[in-house]
Structures are given as C-alpha cells and as structure tokens.
C-alpha cells in the first residue's frame, strides 16, 4: 500500500463507519468457482487460476469460456504450443457458434504468431477470411503469402479481395502483375479490365502497358488494339503514347503499333516521345515509304530539343529511309555513347564509306571502344584513321582473337600491330606467316630480339630449336638458340653446350651469356662463359675478375681464390679486397688452410689502427662469427668496461655464448660497483646481474640500496624475490614501512607489495596503520576496507567500529556508514543511538539515521524510541518533518502528530508544517485545530495549496461535523474541482471525489462514479464499504446490501 494510500486509510475507516454495516459482512458472500478463477486471472494469481480453469475443463469439457482463458494462461507461461493445441481442438470440436469461432481463431492467430508458425498462421488466416472476409485480414494474408513466396496463395487472396466493396486499385494491379508473371495473361487482362470498369481514373500509363502486353501475350491482338485505341485519344499524353508503342513494339507487333498509333499520327513534331514512337513503328514495320514521309515531316518541323538517344534513333531512321546526307548532318550533333550497338556500327560504316573524317573523329573521340566489340576490325580501322592508337590497339587485339582470319587480314593486322609497337602480336602473326614462307637471316635475328624484348624466351627457345635444326649452319639461329635457352631457364644446357662445343660465338654473345648467367643465378653458365672469354681474350684483369666472380657464384671458391689473390695485389682496390675476402671466407668452410688465412686476415684488420672504426668493428663481428673467442672476447671486454652503455650487452651475449659465465658475472659486478661509471650503465649491469645470477647480485645491490636507495632498493627487492628470499623481502618491506619520513603513498606501496607477496594479514596491518584516524573516504581507509572485503571478520568489524568511535562529526558518520554497508547495521545503530543524545543537528541526524536503520530492519520499538526521544526537543524543522514521516511509516500517527506540531512550532510559516499538522490533527479528531491550520495553509502565500484536494476534502468533512453546510459545500466543491484537474487520479482519490459529490448532494453522480470505480475494482472492499455507506445515507439499503454482498 502506498504512503498516500495509507494516509487515506483513515478516511476510508471513517466512511466505513458511516455506512453502519460491517465490512466483514461482505466477506461472507463467497464468489463462485468461475468468478474466483476470473479474479485470480485478473489479480495475476496465475497458478490458482490455472488450477481452477483446468478443473472446470475436466468437469465441463471444452467450452469457449474455459478454453480461451486457459489457453491464455498457458501462453502467458510460455507454453504456446499447448495453448495452440487447446484452441485447435476447440475449433475441431465443431461445437462453436460462428462468433465464437471467429474469436477463437483470432486468439489462435495471436498465438501462432508468437510461436512463429507461419504456415499455420496463414492457414488459420485463410479460415478467418473465409468466415469474415475483410480487407485488412486479406491484405495481411497477401503480405504473409508474399513473405513466404507463396504466389498461389497471394493470387487466391487477391482474387477474393478484388470482389470486396472496399477493394482498392492497387489490389487489382497486384493481382494482374502476379498473374502476368505466371503467364496467366488472359486472367491478367481480365483483372485490369475489371479495374478499368471499377476505377477508370486509376488506369495509369504503367497499367495500360501491362494490360496491352497481357492481351498480346494471350493472343488477343484485336483486344490489345482496342485497349490502346480506347486509351489513346488524339490528345493523349506523350507518356501514354510511349507506353502503347512500347507495349506493341516490345512484342514485335510493329504493324499493329502503327495501327494503334494512327490517332496521334498528326502530332508528329510536337513531342519527341510521340515522334519516336511513330518513327520506330514505321521502321520496325519496314514501312519505308511511310518512314521516309515521317522522317521528312520531322526534319521539316525541326528536331528541336531532342535527347541524344532520340537523335541517334533519328539518324538510324534517316539511313533506313535513304536520307544519308541528312542523317550525317544529324549525326554530327549526337552523342555516340547514347546509341544502341547496332545504331553505332551502322553509323561508323556509313561514315567510313562516305569518308567523313571529321565526323569519324567526333565519333571516335566520344565513343567507348568496348561498344564496338562486335566489329573490331572496323573499330581498329576507324581509330587508326583518326590517330587514336590506344583504341586502335584494343580493337586490333580483339580482331586478332577472331577464330578465323584471311591471310590479308593477318598481314593487315601485322602491319597494325607493328605500327602500334605491339611486337608480340606482330611476332605471333609473323611466326604464323613464317610457316608458309622462307624467312631471311636478319628476320631470324630480329625474331630472337623480339622474343627477348617481349620476355617470351620460352616460346623463343622452342622456335629456335626448330630453326637450329632446320638451319644448322646459321650463326643467327645458333646465337638465338643459346640466348633464348639461357633466358628461359635452360642455362645449364647452354653451359654444357658451351663447355663441350666450339661454336664460334662472338665476344659480345659470350658477354651477354655471362650476364644472363649472373642475372638468372645460373653460375654454371656464367662460369662457362667467363672461361670462354678468358680463353678468347687472355688473362686480363677483366677476364680474371669474371672468372673469380663466376667461380665464387658457382661455389668453386678454390678456383676463384688464386685469381682473387692476383687481383688483390694488382690492381687492388675495394672490389678486389671484397672479392678476396669472399673467396677466402667461402674456401674457409671446407679448407683448413683457408680458415687459418681468414683468421689471420681478420686479426690483422682488427689490429690495424689505420682502418676506420667501422672496418675494425666488422673484423670484430667476423671473429665472433668465426667463434674466435680468444681474439674477440678480450676486445669486447675492453670495450664493455670502457663503454658499457654501448658494449656491455654485446659482451654479455657473446661471452655467455662462449660459456664464460663466471667472466660475465665478474665483469658485471665490476661495472655495477664502479661508482665512476654513469648511473644508467651501472643500472644495466646490475639488472643484467640480477637476471643472470640474482644471488650474486645481492652483495652489490645491498650496498647500492644502502648507499643510494631509490631504484636500487627496488632492484634489491626484485633480487631477493628472484633468489627466493621471500621472508627477508617481507621483513625488509615491513621494516621500511615503519620508517619515519615516508609519505602515505610510499607506505601504501609497500603494503601493496606485501599484499602482492601473499601476506594479506601483514598487509592489512599496514593498511590499518595508515588508515588510523583518517576518514572512511580517505584513500588509506578505502584500501584497508578493500583488503577487508565486503564481509569483515569480527576483529575487522571491531577495528571499523573503533575508527567510528574515535572519530567525530562527519568522519564518524562516514565510518558508521561503512559499518552499515558491511552488514553491521546493529553496531551502526548503536553508535548512532549514542550520538542521538547530542543536542542540535548532529544528534538529530544520527537519531533519524538510526531510526531509518531500525525501520529497514523491521525493528519498530527502537525506532519509535529514538523518534520519541527527539521530538519534544527537536530544533531543526527538516528533522521534525522527517521524524513525523518516519513515525507515519511506523504506523504511529500520535507520534507523527507530535512531530508535525513541533515542526509547526519551529517553522510556523512553512506551508507543509501547516498542512501536515492540520491533517494530523484531523486524523486525531481535533477538528478545531485541524480547521484552523488547514485554513491557514490554504490561505497561505504558497498558492499551489489551492489545488490541494486533500486539504479541501478534510476541511469539508470538518465542516460537516460542525454542521456548517455552506462551508462544507464550498470545501467539497473545491476538492472535486482540484481532483478534476488531476490528469489520472488514482482510485482512492476518485473515491474521495465520489464521496464529496455525495456531500454536495449530487447523489446520482456520486453513485455513478462509485459504480464505475467498483466495476474497475470489484475486489476493493474499502471502496465497496464507502459506496454502501453512501447508499445507506441515501436510504437505498437494498442496493447497499447488494453492494456489500458482492452481487453487483
């Protein structure tokens, strides 16, 4: 029951007393089973309702009055299938009246939707539509069938729909479109005929087109012409003319189109759409004399603002009508991209034939080459003629792809490709030609270059294999064979041939083969070519260099090394040095002598102070790579000691790889302990030590932590953890946390580390130390409370309580709230009770909060005691008001009255004080005081009090008691007016209004309102009693009895 409702309860009691009859009497009138079931259903007592309805079903069998609510109950509980089954069986029982059947099927429709049973939903809807054909239901069926892609059902439903009086034009069109799509053209045309008969104004152009199309498809040509002529008066819109023409021409009925369009023939030149319709019809019908006449007529009237597409049509008609000159003039104005494919080809052929270069250029400039796909040679010629090389190229390619081609065309295409720099195409065509004729040597050489330039060396190798066999004496063929084979992945074959054969290849060809071998990473070929060149040219530095490089590439370092040694000595230089080093490095892999030579080489370079640092670094890395630890590590150690920031990492890494762990530790200890080194370098060493040997890092770190602290202390902590010295670490942290001079953040961090190490108890102790004396909202307190968690143990509760006890003011309240939040409401209330004794605001707040806690816990007595203790001496108006409200909540209206009186004493001008004290006095029967206060309240400056129906109502009742009829009438009238202004007054307020109406002598209105309220709330006993009281007052005791016996 709501608070306001509780306040009104007193008035209900009063009203009931007026009735003079016991409310209990009404309880003796027990409702029947059906009514009880309905009441349970209404009151959402679903379980009880279900039992009763199921019992009825078992007893009386399936009846609408039982099955429908039972199905609703099942559905409410989610058992929709059962609800559906019940309704299905009820329907199947065939015992239902038509109206019942409709209602049942409607309910079934809802549950089928809930169950997502779309097919059954449609079936049920079909039955519903059969029982009660209505447009909304049929449209729903059409939509469901559409969604289910069930055209049969859509059509069936639409057929039914168009017979209804409230059918709409769209229903006909939808039906006709579906029928046409199913090729039921006769039916589609009939449907549209019905539409035209019933909704003549709704036959839109699109409908005409569909209609004529359907008629033509059904073979009813004459009917189609009749439809067209009926819709095509001489002044028909151009849109209608267009669709009529389209409907006929689109079905190859040009002659019929001409006939149909005859009524508008005289309008040629007025409208492009009409013009085109007529010309197209004449053209399609091959009625050339008519076409020529229409074309001439059109030209005589001018072409006006023809759209590009129409202009193209006109050009086409001009050519077809034999009016080439005029057609070409028109063609200059059109946009070729807007022409159809056939139109475009026709135009170009005509233009080429007539050598209209300017027009040709215009067409070529504006046309998409892809449009000429069907006539590529034509396109190629056209584009070449106007210098459009790209487009000509594309067209020529398409032409070359034709499956068959005459020799002349092939030669033409070779010419086109050659002039377009398309050697590959030219080559392919030439190859084909070469099979039919002898080719000159120069052409063979060119062929080889073409193959190479085109990167088609695979094909070249095949072709030259054949040529080499056919022309064994041809140097061009042999050279071409060697080059194309070398370039097409057969370098080794060429290399073997070079090694074995003495063919007199030129120095240039051998050089080419050398580089082909290098590029193709074919060292055998490279080496074979280099050896042949060395033999051809003698041991020149260049020849040595080639042999050395090729031998290295071939992995023959021992062959390369002598050449490299010579080159290093003469002429020397970086390249020779590099070559020597590479040859030496490779040879060292398999040759001990070379290994020694290489180690000596790097050692000497490392020691050579004249070399730049980078070169010496390179030597160092090379020695490391060679695992020459004895040479590399001393140098690395020197560098690491001198410049640890740069070299320490490298030293550690290398020395560890060399297995010199103890040396690493020693060096790290030395670096970490060297106070002359920069701090970051020492830190790196210390951390590396910590990583590699935490136990051995401890000594250094302890010293540094003691001397410097800061991050060294952190490092020491980490070392202790890594070394497994958890106890020492914990002890250290706890000790440091106690040290003076630390701020709260530092202490908190240590506590966190302790917590992190798993010692929750110690951590909590530290946190609690930090939180001592601090407010509950402080960071320290929050951390402690977090560790404690939402359910503190007794000792922890005691600690929280101690904080509260030690604190004062807001801080104390904060800790008390903590107690309350962790479930220790009793302790909180106890502390608050102590505080409640304090005078003034602090005590008041505590008392009220304590009372609220008791109230929430259901402890009425202590709550009442606290409020009682406060009221008499309360000095804060808000507290007095709150105390009164709490007293009301506790059901202690006497205390509430005291509190509101106190409130009035403290703040007599407060409207709420007058109102609350006034209503309290009224409830206590102190009508004189109540009247005084409520009158002051209503006369007060607050203004809004005027619409306080409750105050008016109370004053009205007081006036009745005082037999002041005028005042009573006035107040009750004001109460009624105030209630009428409420948007949605709750039932108890309406009941008050009904009673006020009775007081105003408006018995009929009062009774009517009571009746309405009772219908809405038949189980409201208070209302029933009020109403009965009024009836008794009116002398209508028989009716009162009916009301009380719940028979209304």
């Amino acid at each position: 029951m709501s608070g306001l409702y509780r306040r009104m309860a007193g008035q209900y009691a009063m009203v009931a007393a007026l009735a003079g009859a016991s409310v209990t009497a009404s309880l003796l009138v027990l409702p029947g089973e059906a009514e009880r079931a309905a009441m349970h259903l209404r009151d959402r007592e679903f379980g009880q309702a279900l039992e009763l309805f199921e019992a009825r079903l078992a007893r009386n069998g399936p009846q609408v009055a039982t099955v429908a609510p039972l199905a609703r109950l099942y559905a409410q509980q989610g058992d929709v299938s059962r609800a559906i089954a019940m309704l299905d069986s009820l329907i199947a029982s065939a015992s239902l009246e038509r109206a019942e059947l409709i209602d049942t099927r409607k309910l079934l429709q809802v549950y089928l939707r809930w169950a997502n049973r779309e097919a059954a939903r449609r079936e049920n809807l079909v039955e519903l539509v059969r029982l009660e054909p209505a447009r909304p239901a049929i449209r729903e069926l059409v939509a469901l069938a559409s969604f289910a892609n069930d055209t049969d059902q859509q059509i069936a439903a639409l057929v039914q729909l168009v017979t209804l009086p409230d059918a709409e034009p769209d229903d006909f069109v939808d039906l006709a479109e579906l029928r046409a799509a199913r090729r039921e053209f006769g039916e589609a045309a009939s449907t549209l005929a019905a539409l035209a008969a019933r909704f003549p104004a709704s036959v839109a152009p699109s409908v005409i087109e569909l209609w004529i199309g359907a008629a033509l498809e059904s073979g009813a040509v004459s009917q189609a012409i009749a439809i067209a002529q009926a819709r095509l008066p001489p002044n028909a819109s151009s849109e209608v003319v267009g669709v009529v023409a389209s409907a006929f021409l689109g079905r190859g009925r040009a002659a019929e189109a001409l006939g149909a369009l005859a009524p508008v023939e005289g309008r040629l030149g007025e409208d492009p759409a009409v013009n085109m319709a007529l010309l197209r019809a004449a053209s399609d019908a091959q009625a050339f004399p008519l076409l020529a006449r229409l074309f001439d007529l059109q030209m005589a009237r001018g072409i006006g603002a023809f759209a590009p597409r129409h202009l193209g049509d006109l050009v086409e008609f001009g050519f077809a009508a034999g009016r080439e000159a005029q057609a070409l003039v028109l063609a200059e104005r059109l946009d070729p991209s807007a022409l159809g494919d056939a139109q475009l080809v026709q135009l170009i052929e005509q233009t080429l034939a007539l050598r209209q270069t300017a027009l040709l250029q215009a067409i070529a400039r504006r046309i998409d080459p892809a449009r000429l796909a069907a006539a590529p040679m034509l396109a190629a010629r056209m584009h070449l003629a106007v210098g459009r090389r790209d487009l000509a190229r594309a067209a020529a390619i398409r032409a070359a792809e034709a499956p068959e081609r005459a020799l002349n065309d092939t030669l033409d295409l070779v010419q086109i490709f050659a002039s377009l720099d398309m050697q590959d195409r030219a080559l392919r065509l030439l190859e084909a030609a070469a099979r039919n004729a002898d080719l000159p040597e120069t052409a063979i050489g060119d062929m080889a270059q073409l193959y190479i330039a085109l990167k088609r060396t695979q094909d070249g190798a095949v072709a030259f294999e054949r040529l080499r066999n056919e022309r064994p004496q041809s140097l061009a063929a042999v050279t071409g064979w060697a080059l194309t084979n070398a370039l097409s992945g057969r370098a080794n074959a060429v290399a073997a041939w070079l090694d074995a054969d003495g063919a007199a290849l030129s120095s240039q060809t051998l050089t080419d083969l050398f580089f082909v071998g290098a590029d193709a990473k074919a060292p055998a070929l490279q080496l074979a070519a280099a050896r042949r060149l060395r033999a051809l040219e003698g041991p020149t530095p260049q020849a040595r260099l080639r042999v050395a490089q090729a031998a290295l590439a071939a992995g023959r370092a021992l062959e390369a090394l002598p050449e490299a040694r010579v080159l290093r000595a003469d002429p020397g230089g970086d390249e020779a040095e590099f070559l020597y080093r590479e040859a030496l490095s490779q040879a060292a892999r398999n040759d001990a002598g070379a290994r020694a030579e290489l180690r000596l080489y790097w050692r000497s370079r490392l020691a050579d102070a004249r070399l730049p640092q980078a070169a010496r670094d390179e030597a160092l890395y090379a020695l490391i790579d060679q695992r020459a630890w004895d040479e590399a590590l001393p140098e690395l150690a020197r560098r690491a000691r001198r410049d640890p920031g740069e070299w320490l990492g490298a030293y550690v890494s290398v020395a560890r790889s060399a297995g010199r762990a103890s040396a690493v530790v020693e060096l790290l200890q030395a670096v970490a302990g060297d106070s002359a080194l920069p701090q970051p370098a020492r830190a790196n060493a210390a951390y590396a030590l910590l990583e590699l040997a935490p136990a051995q890092a401890l000594g250094v770190l302890r010293r540094m932590a003691a001397d410097i602290g800061g991050e060294w202390q952190d490092a020491l902590d980490l070392a202790l953890e890594r070394a497994g010295l958890r106890d020492e670490l914990l002890a250290s942290l706890v000790a440091r946390a106690q040290k003076p001079g630390l701020d709260e953040g530092q202490r908190s961090a240590m506590a966190y580390r302790v917590l992190d190490l798993g010692d929750k108890a110690t951590a909590l102790g530290l946190y609690q130390q930090l939180a001592e004396g601090q407010p509950a909202g402080s960071t320290a307190a929050q951390q402690a409370l977090y560790v404690i968690g939402p359910r503190p143990e007794p000792a922890q509760l005691a600690w929280i309580e101690a904080q509260a006890k030690a604190a004062s003011g807001e801080a104390r309240m904060g800790w008390i709230n903590v107690l309350r939040n962790v479930g220790a409401s009793a302790r909180a209330a106890e502390l608050l009770a102590q505080d409640a004794a304090q005078p003034g605001r602090a005590g008041g707040a505590a008392a009220l909060l304590a009372a609220e806690i008791h109230l929430a816990a259901g402890e009425r007595a202590p709550a009442i005691r606290l409020i009682e203790a406060r009221i008499a001496n309360e000095t804060v108006p808000d507290f007095a008001q709150r105390a009164g409200e709490l007293a009301q909540a506790l059901g202690r209206n006497d205390l509430a009255r005291q509190a509101f009186d106190r409130l009035l004493l403290l703040d007599p001008s407060r409207p709420a004080a007058q109102r609350l004290a006034g209503l309290a006095a009224y409830a206590a029967g102190d009508i004189a005081r109540a009247r005084d206060l409520l009158q002051r309240y209503l006369a007060g400056p607050a203004g809004q009090a005027a619409s306080d129906w409750e105050a008016h109502y109370a004053l009205g009742e007081i006036a009745v008691r005082l037999r002041d009829r005028a005042a009573a009438r006035s107040q009750h009238a004001a109460a009624v007016a105030a209630i009428d202004k409420l948007q949605a007054p709750p039932p108890y307020v309406q009941a008050a209004k009904a009673y006020a109406l009775f007081r105003l002598g408006l018995a009929d209105q009062s009774v009517e309102l009571f009746e309405r309220l009772l219908r809405a709330q038949p189980g409201n006993r208070d209302l029933r009693a009020d109403y009965a009281g009024v009836l008794i007052e009116l002398g209508r005791t028989a009716e009162a009895r009916i009301v009380l016996e719940d028979r209304s």
């Binding site: 809930w114 939509a143 929050q782």
Partner: protein, 755 residues
C-alpha cells in the same frame, strides 16, 4: 620492473622483432566512405538508413569502418580521406539535391583509386528540382572505373523477364527471386574481368539484358530491387545477395588481419548487462508478490547471485534510488547487495531515463516538457515525491493557452504521432545532461563497495544519444553501450537484423549492444512475456556459420516482475553456461568495440603486420582463404596464440604488448608454446626454455588449453602455490582448469618437468 624490461630490450639488439619494426610500413586502409541521403523519405537519419542498419555490419565484419557522408550537404573533398579504401553509395532515393556535387566527389574518389560500390538506385543522376542532373556519359565514367556501366534503357514490364543467377550463393542468399520482379535499369559489365552474378533479360530481347548484381576489379553493383527484399505491410526484410560475400569481392579480398570484437583468447565473448527499468516494481511472482518484493530483488536472488561464473553489469536509474526522487531505503539496500557481489559491475542507466534523446537537443525542450509536466508520475512511497508534485502542480498552474499549445506540439511529434507520452521517465527538475551522465555515475558510485568503480553508461529509451551526450560520457570516464537491437531468429530471420558494432556520432562512437533485450521479444513488454527465450536462436545464428557477434544476455530489471519472463531469462543463462565462452564485463566489451575503431594495421611485408592503437581489442582474424595459415612465432611479437574456429583463424594478442606483430607462416608445426583458448583473459605471457608464465583473471573455473610438446609434463603454480603436475596429451594439448575465481588476477607459472 620497468628497468628490467628495458634492459631485456637492450640485450635483444639484433632481434627479429626489431627488424620487423623497422621494415617499411604501410597502414592497411580501413575506412569506407558511405554516401546516404538525409532527405530520403524512408530514412531521414543515419541510424535509420539501410546503409547503416544493413550494410555497416558486413563492412565491420570485413574490418572496415563506415564513414557516413550525407549527400544532402556539401560533400567534402575525398582527398581528405587518405586512408579510405572505397566509397559505397546507398541513397534510398531516385533524385538528390545536388547531383553534380556527388558525381564530382565520386569522380575524384575513384580517380584516386578508391573502389566504388553502388547499392540500390543511382539516385544521384537526377536532381530533385528537375534541373541540374548529370549526363549518363559523365556517370558512366565513374561506373566504368568500378567495372560496369549504365545504359539509357529501362524495363518496366517484367512479367516476361527471365533471371539467370550465375554465382550461386552470392545471389538468392536469404530470398529467392519471386514474381513480380522489380522493374530495372539496364546495367552491363564494362570490363571483361567483371563477374555478373545475376542477369535479367526479357525473352527474345537481348537489348534488355541487365546485369543487376556485379562485382568488378574496382567495385560492385547490387541494383535496386535485387539487393534485398522488403515486405512493406509486415515491415520485414531479407537479403537477396549475401552482403558479406558481395562486399568481400567488391572491396577486394585482402590477407591483412581483421580486428575482431567477437572473440577473446580464442573463445566467443560473453557479456551480460541489465538496464535498471522496473527496479521499484513489485514482482508478480509468488511468493515474492505476497512479500512485496521488488523486481530488483528477484533479479538479484534468481538471476545474479546463483551465477557467480557469469559476470554482469547492472545499471540502475538514479531516480529509482535517490532519496530526493523515488528511491527508498529498501531499493538502495538491494542495490548495495547487488554491487557487493564480485561478479557484478556497476553501470548507469542515467538519472531520469530519457526516452527520446534528440528531444533534449531542441532549444525549446524545457518549455515543451514543462507543458506536459503533469503527466509525470509521482513517487508516493517516498517523501521525495513532493519535489515531483511541485513540478506537476507547476505544470497545471501554467496550463494557460501557451502551455496547451506547447503540449499539443509535443503530442504532435511525440505523443499520438510518436512513441512517447513523455520524453523521459522522471522529471523532478529540469533536464541537465551533466546530471544524466556524470551526475548519475557519481551517485551510483556512492552505492558501491570500496574498490569498485562505475565504468559504463547504458543508453536509455530510443538509445539515440547525440554528440554532446557521448562527449559527456567520455569526459566522465565512462564507456557506453546500447542500441542496435540485433536479432536473428525465427521472427527476424535475416542477417539484415544484425547490427553493426556501433554508430558514429560526430567525433564519437556509440557502441551497440550485441543482442537485443527482452523488450523487443515481448511486444514492447506488453505481452508474450516468455518471448525472450528465443534469444538462444539469435545466439546460435550469430555464432555460426560465421561468428558475427559476441554472446550478450541483455535485459531489464522488470524481467523479475513476471514469472514467464524470469523463466525465459533463466533458460537463457542456463544455455549460456553450456557454451564455450570467455565471459567479461560489458564495459570490457565496450572497450574492445572502441578498440575496433581505433586499431591500425600496419603491413610490414612478408605476411607480417603490426597492430597499433587497438585499445582493449585483443583478437585479429583471418577469413578464408587466408585462414589456413599458422602464426610464425619466430617473427611475431605479443601473440598469445591462435585457433581455427567458426570458419576463420583467430589470433589472440597479449594485452601487455602495446604494438604486437602478427606474422604468418603456412600451416604446420609451430614449435612455440601457445594458447589455444581460455575462459579467462590471459596477459603477460613469458615463454622461456623450460617454462612459461602468465597472468589471468576471470569468473568460474579457469579452463584453458595450451599447445606444448606432445606428452610434456609441467609443474603448475598459481600465485606461487604449487598445484601439482599437469600433462599434455599425445597431440600436445595441455588442458588446465584453474580454481574457480571471482575476477581477481592470478599469476600462473608452468615449469617443464623432465621425465
């Protein structure tokens, strides 16, 4: 500790990762510019547009971020979107205000190499005014760059049109072609490489042949009427094309990893969140009804407390709790009990529960609201209701002509014509955005136990917050969620009802819930209260064959009011318990979703990518045909592991690594220890020769699987406590089950034990 890590990096001076990091890098473009028209009658807002509601999810699925551009306004220079991959136009209109501006934009964009996808009509060819259209040739210059062109031919009568689907699966995906076919313009491929998926033509009329669905080298087309089906009376839709397959081809398949919001540590994400509506409603469920229990308490006792393994975010409405509004001590006590549970995260469902967010962006909102103030309910159980009464009375006193006019104006837009009787649920004082967002969060914070922090705002009402509201959330340090209303079940049987990850609102992102709540399953909480049980269908359909969304159980406190609703909810929770998921809080998901929008994929070459600025997003995905690979751990950095699941390869990233590198090798033996999947999120993985360690936190039993050497044995320690030995199976799968936990982080160490 930081210094140690820094030193470790010094030691790795010749590391592979450094080499990858220094390789020439190029960001993978992730933005797709989406043209839409706010003057379209059917979709006047981005939120309502097909482009957003239907197409943005497939774009997100492919890793793209939709950048909406309203063609009703002057379009920006496309050069300003250097990271844009493509332009998609879906205008839902056959004419626009400025065709030349749009065509110029498309021309520049496609010339700059952006792909172009057209869905629906090319509405930008015609001017709405009838003056100022663009030529077909100019439009075709743009279309042809994408691989198709438009002819000046239109087929109105379709009854004799035959359809030729050429790419099965790409067309007739959810909906077969059905009569009567939609009239169509004639489209043709302009490039031999263009693939026609659906071709229409009138019988014996080759000139009418139209390729209404095409994918070209640089774009694609799904012509009007052939992208999707819409039944106007039922207001239901279905795709005719497979939008994901279509966009994959039209936008070009890329091997680059795709940021993924559905998966975490190899498992589908689970999260749950509750809007506080109905907190004060007395339950109808017995025996609670007789005891006057509030719905909130029923939800606590039935749906939250018994599920310590399923984290949940509870977001009350402050006006339901605050003592100056409608709050009672009982209601607040329930809130404190709920928030004390470790598996509960706190969110905010605002202070007064705005129903209509755009309403409050009107300059006259306060005056309009004052005119209908008397409609707001009072809170009769609480003294604080007086404040509401003041507002109500004030509204009545000001019931002069002006106020009546304003009230009528309100009803015209929001009452009879709109969805709401009032623009918010409570109105004790004038609306203030700061109170709704930051203020509400601050109040709810006072109800939380120490150590818990509120981190999420759950949008109320029509879930259409404006930019100011999203900015206020960001300023208050709150993530945000709600909206989208994803459903994919028997009633909404289409991929088109799966919402994108979120919605761009100015400079901010509204993150959508991953599934709709019980309100839409119950005819807006008016009937069919069991309906929420169909959520399991949505969970299944969005999980396979493609994993499109996380598992999200999203509901209101009023589910505790009715038995059928509660049973449906409990059924859903039981179903979820049986799934293999990674449960997280809703704010965590919102952070992951934000990470999707921020992530940058930097291609390093040789099948390696660096993932930057990803925030909380920890999964990248490789779709077929790139899902056959495996992670190359020798070159990767910050990768926990990978798993081939739900038709894709999911790679789990380590949250401890700011810029992880994902490198692929062909499938086969991997060698490194790696994570297959886990119920708990994992971070900070350290692999060493004979051990590996990591941190993990989660709810329920910490089941997880690692790939190690076959039959390998490990000593398991959790938070330093030895837990015994675990052993991999013959395939090298090491299954762990860490003790049940309440979300606290634990340190896990596995040390290899020699036989």
């Amino acid at each position: 500790m930081i210094r140690v890590l820094a030193y470790a990096l010094v030691l790795a001076f010749v590391g592979t990762a450094c080499a990858l990091a220094q390789a020439p890098a190029q960001s993978v473009p992730r933005r797709v510019l989406v043209l839409w028209d706010s003057t379209s009658v059917s979709s006047p807002t981005w939120r309502a547009s097909f482009a957003h509601s239907m197409l943005e999810m497939p774009l997100n699925r492919l890793g793209y971020i939709a950048e909406p551009l309203d063609v009703a306004k002057k379009l920006p220079d496309p050069a300003g979107f250097a990271d844009a991959h493509a332009v998609v136009a879906w205008l839902e209109t056959d004419s626009v205000s400025d065709p030349a501006d749009i065509l110029a934009f498309l021309d520049r964009a496609t010339q700059a190499g952006m792909r172009f996808v057209l869905v629906g009509e090319p509405g930008f060819l015609r001017a709405r005014s009838g003056v100022g259209g663009v030529s077909l040739a100019a439009a075709n210059a743009v279309f042809e760059r994408a691989g198709f062109r438009l002819l000046d031919e239109f087929v109105r009568l379709t009854f004799d049109v035959e359809a030729e689907p050429r790419v099965p699966g790409l067309v007739e995906y959810e909906r077969a072609l059905d009569p009567p076919l939609t009239p169509f313009a004639v489209w043709r491929p302009s490039d031999p490489a263009t693939v026609s998926a659906l071709v229409l033509r009138r019988r014996d009329r080759p000139e009418t042949e139209s390729h209404v669905v095409m994918v070209g080298k640089q774009g694609g087309l799904a012509a009007f009427g052939y992208s999707h089906f819409f039944e106007p009376e039922l207001r239901r839709r279905q795709w005719r094309i497979d939008p994901i397959a279509f966009l994959t081809r039209a936008l070009g398949a890329s091997e680059a990893p795709i940021p993924d919001v559905t998966t975490l540590v190899g498992r589908r994400i689970y999260f749950s969140h509750i809007d506080g509506d109905g907190w004060r409603n007395v339950t109808e469920i017995q025996p609670g009804r007789r005891l006057r229990k509030l719905s909130a308490e029923v939800v606590l006792e039935e749906a939250i407390a018994p599920f310590p393994d399923l984290p949940v975010t509870m977001a009350p409405i402050v006006a339901d709790l605050h003592p100056d509004w409608c709050g009672t001590p009982e209601g607040r006590a329930i809130a404190r009990r709920i928030f004390a549970l470790p598996q509960v995260e706190a969110g905010s469902h605002t202070w007064t529960h705005p129903f209509d967010w755009p309403f409050f962006e009107r300059p006259d909102a306060e005056a309009l609201e004052r005119a209908i103030a008397s409609r707001y309910p009072g809170c009769q159980d609480n003294p604080g209701w007086f404040a509401n009464m003041v507002t109500r009375v004030r509204g009545r006193l000001q019931g002069n002509t002006e106020a009546k006019k304003r009230a009528a104006e309100f009803d015209g837009q929001y009452g009879a014509a709109g969805a709401y009787n009032t623009p918010r649920a409570y109105a004790g004082k004038p609306y203030a955005l700061a109170d709704e967002i930051g203020g509400a969060a601050a109040y709810i914070q006072t109800l939380l136990p120490p150590g818990k922090t509120i981190g999420l705002v759950q949008w109320s009402g029509n879930t259409a917050p404006g930019e100011a509201a999203l900015a206020a959330a960001a300023q208050a340090g709150l993530r945000n969620i709600n909206g989208g209303d994803t459903r994919f079940d028997a009633e909404f049987n289409s991929l088109s009802y799966v919402a994108p990850i979120g919605r761009r609102v100015g400079a901010h992102w509204q993150i959508y819930a991953a599934a709709s709540n019980e309100n839409t399953y119950t005819d807006l909480w008016s009937d069919r209260f069991f309906g929420f049980r169909d959520l399991v269908q949505t969970i299944a359909n969005t999980g396979a064959p493609r994993r499109l969304a996380p598992v999200n159980v999203y509901y209101h406190v009023y589910s505790g009011e009715k038995d059928a609703a509660l049973q449906a909810l409990l059924g859903n929770l039981a179903y979820v318990r049986g799934l293999e998921v990674a449960p997280i809080f809703a704010s965590h998901y919102a952070a992951i979703a934000e990470g999707f929008y921020g992530a940058r994929i930097v291609a390093l070459g040789d099948r390696a990518w660096r993932i930057e600025d990803r925030g909380a997003l920890q999964t990248v995905r490789f779709d077929p045909p790139f899902d056959e690979a495996a992670v190359d751990f020798a070159r990767a950095r910050g990768v926990l592991g990978f798993r081939r699941d739900a038709g894709a390869l999911y790679v789990a990233l380590d949250p401890a690594e700011a810029s992880p590198v994902v490198a692929l090798a062909s499938a086969g033996a991997v060698g490194a220890v790696y994570l297959i999947d886990s119920r708990w999120p994992v971070r900070g993985l350290k692999r060493e020769a004979a051990r590996f360690e990591f941190a993990a936190e989660g709810f329920g039993a910490g089941t997880m699987r690692w790939r190690v050497a076959p039959d390998a044995r490990y000593a398991l320690a959790v938070d330093g406590t030895e837990m015994g030995e675990v052993r991999a199976d013959a395939g090298g799968t090491l299954a762990l089950s860490l003790p049940r936990a309440d979300g606290r982080r634990v340190a896990v160490r596995l040390r290899r034990v020699q036989s």
